[in-house]
Symmetry: D2
Subunit: 255 residues, 4 copies
């Protein structure tokens, strides 16, 4: 039976759905609102079981999913949500071995999902112009052991991307229409372009600019995630939901 080992990431989920992700280190303690959990109580034990804080608060010790890691990231910027990331990976054909460019890196949520999808043979090129944001993203990826699959670059992408012939390129920034020539130069012929934007005004500007810069097959979509209270005798949607994360825009580079 597989057991949790030093350096493994562990997802601890409390009864009240509060959760914590830790990297196991002997002798270390996790201090939470309901007591202290010793890493040594987890190391060498299988996951999928309950552990107790010293105050008797129960937590389920689990392997974190990509979904959990994204939502747990330290962030200073607006996050991209797993519902959007999972969908764009399929739309943009990201898989093992893909070479993918993204800008900006933000807190690294999309970067981490891309890295886990293209590894071990693919590579993610992640551009970010703000040094402090780049620094945070780098730390986030390092903590997850994903830096070997990502090249982080501090750069204003107005100057262009270093790469050519990449399979896919995603822009998560305020004004993607200003970088379409650069995006076109980086993508392979037929390559996958994607972007996320919060306002309809930005979407209009982007989809107007895309055909003028050698992109076709433009699509605009949005995803709504509705969560339910998982109570067998009273199955019903949660009272409130996230109503908007962003519009997803997809296109293909043409010659």
């Amino acid at each position: 039976m597989k057991v949790a080992r030093e350096n493994d990431l562990v997802f601890l989920m409390g009864k009240d759905r509060k959760s914590f992700i830790v990297r196991l280190e002997p002798g270390t303690e996790l201090h939470i609102h309901r007591g202290v959990v010793k890493h040594d109580d987890l190391i060498g034990q299988p996951l999928g079981r309950e552990v107790q804080s010293h105050l008797g608060y129960s937590l389920l010790a689990l392997e974190p999913s990509t979904h959990d890691l994204i939502l747990d990231l330290k962030r200073t910027t607006q996050i991209m949500y797993p519902k959007d990331i999972g969908y764009l990976l399929l739309k943009m054909n990201v898989g093992p071995g893909s070479r993918v460019v993204e800008a900006g890196a933000g807190s690294g949520g999309l970067t981490l999902a891309l890295a886990r999808t293209v590894m071990p043979t693919g590579l993610v090129y992640s551009y970010e112009v703000r040094p402090d944001v780049l620094n945070l993203a780098t730390k986030n990826l390092e903590r997850l052991g994903l830096l070997p699959f990502v090249e982080m670059k501090e750069r204003d992408i107005k100057e262009g991307f270093d790469e050519v012939d990449v399979d896919a390129l995603f822009l998560d920034l305020r004004n993607p229409w200003e970088y379409l020539a650069q995006a076109h130069a980086a993508l392979k012929s037929g390559g996958f372009f994607g972007a996320i934007l919060p306002t309809t005004n930005q979407v209009v500007r982007l989809i107007r600019a895309l055909p003028e810069h050698g992109f076709s097959a433009v699509e605009v979509e949005e995803l709504l995630l509705r969560r339910y209270k998982a109570v067998p005798a009273r199955l019903r949607p949660m009272d409130r939901m996230v109503a908007h994360t962003g519009y997803l825009i997809f296109a293909r580079k043409i010659e």
Copy 2:
């Protein structure tokens, strides 16, 4: 510059958004509603450009994405949609190297996405009790060159799964609550369980049964995909949409 070669899959998208996926074979022709396209006009040429049928109908020749391949599958059963598949891959932590069980295979839509995600070192174990359905799924995966990453099994899963300690297990069948002991036996400790169900009655039965069979952290969610008309001067949602593909249920195996 990369060019399309014999045996490559090509996605042909017409002006009217009608699309076709072909595997390139010298001397072969694609007959569509608006004329004939010769594979020889595509072989040796880069993708991301327009080709003409002999009647002058323009098609964009593109690399198909996982999304396109799923929607293009020959099917006799209800399909799983990319929005749901992309999300569950992140929720269930499927990545390169994962070992994943699914049942039933259906037409192979989820199977193909799983295979493209776990390859080259992971493996998908796909169970299906109906021989004709299994046959179709196998043909679909073979055509996409994905069979090396999938073990197809004709089996009533009441008899259990052959595998143990798998990372994730997904049930896409009418009565998943009847196979939870078998699912529990196949999963690793803490492993990821997922299912999709069309009716609320089925969801109630499943989430009642899960805790009785050693599963915890039960979640019920659904995703709605809304597509927009990508016209810059008249940005608006499409008139109609798919209102329901299924409820997604997630849980974790506990000891």
Copy 3:
């Protein structure tokens, strides 16, 4: 017990949910896809019961609701849906005795709901520039006996409205931002303004123009209606739904 009488409207709903609305006339027949129904079989009988066509096809004979009447209207234009109409009646405070202006009349769907809400002491002033459309709306309202509560006016509203101090004013036309001075002149101080628009570009233009023309408290909303298959053992959303009828814009006239 109340019975159906000559001149009453009756809603006939077939087993397959096909439905028909007729005004009862002695000696008249309704010819449908499954036979003939005689009005005389309905006159003098209570509603809420089944009738048979001469081919034995069963129909439920019911009183039509405002909802049913709207959806049944003969139309040449895009319809306004009951979900939007019901909501705007409450948002715009339309009730018995209200004086309401609308333009354009279209096929009269909103007009009929307004008329049924303001009657018998209120009045609807309905403007429409296209004579054929006005003619259709007038016929639709006449058939429902609602013309006493509506003044139909063939007019380009650029020339302004005849009324002043109306309680509420609704614009269902392509370019409502061009008529805001006229709308402001017609409304009472603090009066309710509403509009429906299909594209985000139009919404942007309208909400930019509203504050420039003496309107405040601007709101933009949309309503999504999701229908379920009402089968107790298999409760689930319908497969498809209307994804977009229009954005609703509300504002208040200020001095």
Copy 4:
């Protein structure tokens, strides 16, 4: 020009969208988080203009809509939302002159909308078994001057309704399937039945019971309201929304 008078209801909306509804009384003051507003500053003045608190905080003085009144109600129970109420009024054909039964009254939100729709010739019969809740609803309706159009009854509806031949009957309570015989007895032939329920389990029970008690044409629907930030340069949905208010169930009494 119409001016606000003693006893009028006025809706005061602050810059931060905080709002207050008051009934004007000479000499009275409204104390809010940003100062004091004197009723005497409103009486005799037209609505649709700004007033200032003594601390200089601006509020827009407006006539309240039915929508505003519902959301402003003092409540101890779950509220029914205007989106649902507006829709059911059209579905259940409630109009001037209708006779409508509802149970339970709750805080009176639906009651007030029904009363404003059926007045002056119609009547609402509102049942509520909890004396304190009935008391609150009665006060709410009295404050709005709607009591002449409502009969409030403290009663366990297991004992049945006093009325017969009512046009429409709406149940907003936990277990509507237990009162269907009583509802059938109160409705006219073909009359409109409606209910709202939060969980799918309750919906299943109700739609199973309806045909067994002489109801037909059963429908289950839900409405989602999505609000937008009404900023012309940045039009976008609000970040969060109410994800669930309840499932609406409609049916018709048959003989």
